[in-house]
């Protein structure tokens, strides 16, 4: 292991430093001897021992203490250059010196160890904090597993594999560091069995093959497993490693649990929304199909029951009713089909350079009957560029908007279709003089089955028109928005086409 080699080298160097410190102390003591006397030069050695203890730890400092005692005895205590001690006074000095150096080196080494431990704790606390902040921003299980594997491998200096349960049981590896690492099939089999059996609820660790497995335990129980490689690392984990790993695993498990809960909540919300839409569709179907069918059936049976019974005017009313109601049903079925196409993602675009004026013209032609009671103004800037769009889809968007204007704005009022360049973009608006949108509903009007008011079912028709407009505009690459007019009562819907849809201009003098 790299780190083991490194600390061994580090230890040897510390002993070297201890030796050098004693040699240096010897030199300094020799220089000071004439001035301070041999009784006091022992302080020089003591200083060296304290220095070694503070930087090198207990072992080197004890070695330095031992070497100092020997050197002091050999070089300074008479008879010099022997390890003998002649004078009892000097013997006491030597013994005290030995005791003091050992005690001091012990104390200094302990202080150093505490400082190192504090530093290490600060580092892991910081790492844990950074990790918790990092995973708070992750919303995806795989990305979370990835981050967890990377961080654990980094802090524990072991290979890590994170295993999360998927739809088919425990997965071989949700993430690993180094990447691509997996647990052996045979290990996985045993893990799956124990996972399904619920054994991990009460288990803290398990050793299988080359891995140590730990649970990721959240409040609700285990949510996954972590495999640590056994190679080269201590077994079991050291208390510090245990603590660090426990915190990491706890954070990851908590985050996973939150994700699962969030997903369940989302699924529940979608289910409620689907139920609402289904109910709305059913009520819309029964209303929007049955009403015209009732009118048609009534009119036809009346005509058949009494040939010649209805005079010219009454006859006209009945046949016009049949035609109007049949057209209404056609619109409804068209809307349903369009909506289905949008939701199934089945819109294929047939893009070509189109002339907005031309599409406005065909849309007005198709809505001529419904808009017969309104006055329509077309106000298109003369320099409008051609746009790269699907004419059929855009025409349907305009038809729906014009139908809406006809439905909501009173007869005789003005409907304005205006087209303007807006910077490099192009905007097309349809404005009416109706009651406008309920404040705050500017976005909701594009929801499926939205109706402006609960009581205007008859007028509102399918409640799909604007939802289709939005779906088609998104498919075309444009935007649609609705608002109340700034210049008076009424609604205004804006179709915005970004400059990327503008067809490059062509010269008109083509050969």
């Amino acid at each position: 292991m790299e780190r083991g080699d490194g600390s061994e080298r580090e230890g040897l160097r510390s002993y070297g430093v201890a030796g050098l410190a004693v040699v240096a102390a010897l030199g300094v003591a020799e220089l000071l001897r004439p001035a301070v006397g041999i009784e006091n030069v022992d302080l020089v050695f003591l200083t060296a021992v304290v220095g070694v203890a503070a930087t090198g730890g207990l072992g080197p400092s004890l070695a330095a203490a031992f070497a100092s005692v020997l050197a002091y005895n050999f070089f300074f205590i008479p008879p010099v250059f022997t390890f003998e001690v002649a004078d009892a006074k000097n013997l006491a000095t030597l013994v005290f010196f030995a005791v003091v150096t050992v005690v001091v080196s012990n104390l200094a080494a302990r202080v150093r160890a505490q400082a190192l431990a504090a530093k290490e704790r600060a580092r892991s606390t910081q790492a844990l904090y950074a990790f918790s902040r990092h995973i708070a921003g992750i919303a995806d299980r795989d990305a979370l597993a990835e981050a967890a594997a990377e961080r654990m491998a980094d802090l524990l200096d072991r290979d890590v594999i994170v295993l999360l349960p998927g739809p088919d049981g425990l997965a071989a590896a949700a993430a690993s560091n180094p990447a691509g690492d997996v647990v052996e099939d045979i290990e996985l089999e045993a893990l799956r069995a124990s996972w399904v059996a619920g054994e991990w609820v009460g288990r803290d660790a398990m050793r299988i093959g080359g891995h140590l497995f730990y649970p990721l335990r959240a409040a609700s129980g285990p949510v996954g497993l972590v495999a640590l490689s056994r190679e080269g690392g201590r077994e079991p984990l050291s208390p510090d490693e245990e603590r660090l790993f426990g915190s990491l695993a706890g954070q990851v498990a908590g985050a996973l649990e939150r994700m699962d809960l969030g997903r369940e909540r989302d699924e529940a919300r979608v289910a409620v929304e689907n139920e609402r839409l289904r109910a709305a569709l059913l009520s819309s179907l029964s209303h929007d199909l049955k009403t015209p069918l009732a009118s048609i059936t009534g009119a036809v049976t009346a005509l058949r029951a009494g040939p010649g019974l209805y005079d010219g005017a009454a006859h006209d009313v009945l046949t016009v009713t049949i035609q109007d109601e049949a057209e209404r049903m056609t619109r409804f079925v068209t809307n349903l089909l369009d909506m289905t196409r949008i939701e199934a993602g089945g819109i294929t675009l047939d893009r070509s350079a189109i002339d907005l004026g031309e599409v406005v013209g065909t849309a007005l032609q198709r809505t001529a009957r419904t808009l017969a009671g309104h006055e329509v103004v077309i106000d298109l800037a003369p320099d409008l560029p051609m746009l790269h769009l699907d004419a059929v889809l855009l025409e349907q968007v305009l038809v729906n908007l014009l139908d809406n204007a006809a439905k909501y704005a009173p007869a005789g009022s003005l409907v304005t279709v205006a087209g303007r360049p807006a910077g490099d973009d192009v905007s097309l608006t349809v404005a009416d003089e109706g009651p406008g949108l309920p404040p705050g509903d500017e976005e909701r009007v594009f929801d499926k089955f939205y109706r402006a008011a609960a009581d205007d079912r008859r007028r509102a028709g399918t409640g799909l028109g604007l939802a289709i407009c939005r779906g088609f505009m998104e498919a075309l690459g444009g935007r649609i928005s609705a608002a109340n007019r700034a210049d008076g009562p009424g609604a205004i819907v804006t179709l915005a086409f970004p400059s990327s849809l503008v067809a490059p201009p062509r010269r008109e003098d083509v050969a």
Partner: protein, 231 residues
């Protein structure tokens, strides 16, 4: 029942065939019926109907295939496709294969009858030349003298504008796809954008309200059609 021009109605829906038979019969045509593509091809080969309204969705083969085989057999019988909104590709494909026109389901009976009359008129005229002077509402086009006037005022057209208008007049009442017009006016490689620019210019010259045209009608996603005077 027996004296009128024969029309072959091809649709697999008996109720729609019954409706067409009843109304076309009342208009004086002699109505033949087929519910399958094979039946249609056979009747066209043996009974030589004058015009064929053809549904594209048949049980035994694609309507487009029917058109292909009928044209491959050399028959020039006008075919009017009964199509649905949203199937513009199908319409264009049918026209490219040699169909003459289309109506979109659900269609008004008067619309179908107008298409049938237009098809018959063009069929009868195939032998002789087109009427030299075309008039519709305020628009008059003199093909031989290359004169166009609107509300009795002469209108100057560029060469390409004239080529397009002339093509529309010769095919008055019939839909022409973008491609068909471009091929005959420019050649095969031109961008549809050119065509739209010229149509816009033409409308500015001959339409009272260029944005709500009454002569050159847009068939969205398909092509253009010159309106004929209503009978």
């Amino acid at each position: 029942m027996s004296g009128g021009l024969p029309i072959l109605v091809v649709d697999d829906e008996p109720s729609l065939r019954r409706l067409l038979r009843t109304s076309l019969d009342a208009q004086g045509y002699r109505v033949l019926e087929a519910g399958t593509g094979r039946g249609a091809i056979e009747i066209i080969a043996h009974d030589a109907p004058e015009v064929v309204p053809l549904d594209l969705g048949l049980p035994d083969m694609d309507g487009l295939e029917v058109i292909r085989r009928v044209r491959a057999n050399g028959a020039t019988t006008p075919i009017i496709v009964l199509s649905s909104r949203g199937d513009e590709r199908g319409k264009v494909a049918a026209l490219d294969l040699g169909a003459d026109d289309y109506v979109t389901k659900p269609f008004g009976m008067s619309e179908l009858v107008a298409r049938i009359r237009t098809a018959l008129r063009h069929r009868l005229r195939q032998d002789g030349a087109a009427t030299p002077v075309f008039t519709s509402g305020d628009l008059t086009v003199d093909l031989t003298r290359r004169l166009v006037s609107v509300q009795d005022r002469e209108v100057k057209l560029s060469n390409k504008e004239w080529d397009i208008l002339k093509l529309l007049v010769v095919n008055a009442g019939k839909v022409l796809t973008h491609r068909a017009i471009m091929e005959r006016v420019w050649g095969p490689t031109v961008d549809v954008q050119y065509l739209r620019i010229y149509v816009r210019q033409l409308r500015q010259k001959i339409e009272e309200h260029p944005n709500r045209p009454r002569h050159i009608l847009t068939e969205t996603g398909v092509g253009y059609r010159l309106a004929t005077p209503s009978p």
